[in-house]
Symmetry: C2
Subunit: 343 residues, 2 copies
DNA sequence: TATTAGCACTTAACCACTGAGAGTGCTAAA
DNA sequence: TTTAGCACTCTCAGTGGTTAAGTGCTAATA
């Protein structure tokens, strides 16, 4: 990390904050006037030129003021985190009252959470419900549909219910299904989906020797049922961000809409981020997704112990009110965590 | 309906079709040249002036060509429907092969269908999965969660699985829950959700006299479980429509995004439309939703007998290729209907 | 009588130009 | 080391002139 003396830092922060508040490039005069450094514009100009040379600021054109680079935002955000200024603010409890009533239905809870976040922040609210990989099986239920088709319903301790229809290739009676479900429950309930998947593989290799027809069927069903399950991604607030001055450019809107339609990539990204603790921030070009390189992401995982049970966050322009965003995301994540723990 | 003589109609259709193909106001010269009426631009001009007087066309400004009004589109679309030209085209079976593999999971089927529709049409693809009101209960399952909380899982004959967590206010054993579920299944399975709701109300009034504690609990659970269930609405293809010349205007983009975020209103609209047979078309100002007054909707319900089991459709600009849209929607609806019937 | 050629008229779109305003970098003085 | 002063650069909004498209009207024509 490049070291900057106190005065230079302060000027950088002033530029960033001013730009976050007013979407125009900020000039030396503005900084000198608005932030009482006791310095003349000329001096500020020199410092700003230095900051530009170091890559923290850039000029859109010669006669314009300066705008932070992604590196500039990063430096600013690091200082925000170091100060943890946002932690001292009062929590948003009042605003979450409505969400509280939804605690029982986890999908609706997460989708409504994105709406609350986008209303509060005026950016895109995002949330991902727990990915089944890390959730604990409470009970599995098998139900015969038609011919060789059965439905497998997986209940997790977290309150999620996932279902999958499976074609067996041969008919089966409901009675057999009940026995299979009984076996699977005795064997697997209380384990995470990940553990179950591993166990199934192990059992299947043993099974080759044991050759119990029912058990082998059970394992096959199980393999299908637990294959390829993802958390659901919710996004809302597009009309909020379209009101921002950052989105008067059609090209940028297109990029954003393409980015949020590529749910699969975002899910993978959030998956990775959900492993980490606290608020995570990805600024513009730091993002690995091409369409996201002009936007920033602020997310936090909701955890139960150290197991991630969901992710909430914000997507917005790099010119984002990071302080407010961090504050909202941090608060929301804590709130969801608490709500899910209390249940 | 205003009657137009053959020549006037032809000229109206020519203007509409030309405008659909090229997003510029169409002038008399273009019509005369491109559509071999054997008339000079001057004559065409006179007819176009008449059409404008009658409200089928309008001029953006004095020296521009003409553009269809919503009434103009309506007249054109009526003739399309009368000819049923689109019915003669070959079905899109090839393109639906991928969807066929998803038939077992109805939610994913519908959400992927919207993607297919938007890719084919370059407009927004929309779909609504069966609203539970009209679906038939196959089985209800009750599972104890924690304290006084239970999960009710509703399986429908259509292959949908809905779940709801209910707080009872007092603890209950799983054994009791099983008995309640057994009772509810014997009583209600095979009935539509609507019927069940009515039955519950009836039973509850009787129950006041009979006073069986378990049954009264069962009915209470049932009432909760079947309360307020909606079909899910899926929308995709925003980045498709942003590429249309109709959406270079930020204001229009905002309107569209606000419209599709108001899922509740769209669901109610589709609900109404799902009662009708065949492809339904709503053009611009015909729409009751304010935000939708600049867009058109083309939808068709998927039916099982005369029971709607879902809706698929397109949202796009009023300058839409209606012929293609109708064709795609009609085909898709038939395809989904077939797939759900075969199951 | 219906159609058409001719023409004057209207308007948007494009382009080059201009002046104002904002903000810079550099230099020389404090 | 800081600052005042100044020349310089660039954007932006506004202006005026030109072009092209398309119209409506009128008078001639089949």
């Amino acid at each position: 990390m490049i070291m900057l003396d106190e005065r230079t830092k302060k000027i950088l922060y002033a530029v960033v904050e001013n730009y976050i508040n007013f979407p125009d490039p900020v000039g030396s005069r503005t900084v000198a006037k608005g932030y009482s450094f006791g310095l003349s514009p000329a001096t500020i100009r020199n410092v700003m030129a230095d900051l530009e040379e170091m890559g923290f600021l850039l000029q859109p054109h010669t006669s314009a003021g300066r705008v932070p680079t992604d590196m500039g935002y990063r430096f600013y955000v690091e200082s925000l985190i170091a100060e943890s200024a946002f932690l001292h603010k009062e929590p948003l409890r009042e605003l979450y009252k409505r969400l509280e009533t939804l605690r029982d239905n986890i999908d609706i809870l997460f989708s409504e959470t994105t709406k609350t976040i986008s209303t509060l922040s005026h950016y895109l609210g995002i949330a991902m419900s727990p990915k089944p990989e890390v959730t604990t099986l409470k009970k599995i239920e098998l139900l015969k549909y038609k011919d060789d088709k059965i439905a497998a319903i997986l209940f997790t301790d977290e309150g999620m219910i996932k279902n999958k229809v499976i074609s067996l290739g041969a008919e089966i009676t409901q009675k057999d299904l009940n026995r299979i479900a009984g076996y699977l429950n005795s064997e697997f309930s209380g384990h995470t989906f990940d553990e179950i998947r591993q166990k199934v593989v192990q059992e299947m290799s043993k099974e080759k020797i044991m050759c119990d027809r029912l058990i082998s069927r059970a394992l096959k069903i199980c393999q299908e049922a637990f294959y390829f399950l993802y958390g659901d991604l919710f996004v809302s607030g597009l009309s909020e961000v379209l009101n921002l001055p950052d989105f008067t450019d059609l090209k940028k809107i297109k990029e954003l809409s393409r980015a949020i339609e590529d749910k699969h990539t975002i899910i993978k990204l959030l998956d990775k981020l959900s492993e980490l603790d606290g608020v995570q921030i990805i600024i513009g070009s730091e993002n690995s997704m091409d369409e996201m390189k002009k936007f920033s992401i602020v997310v936090s995982a909701c955890k139960e112990g150290d197991r991630p049970i969901g992710v909430v966050g914000i997507i917005g322009p790099t010119r984002m009110n990071y302080s407010k965003a961090i504050y909202i995301v941090d608060n929301t994540a804590r709130f969801i965590t608490r709500i899910l723990a209390e249940r």
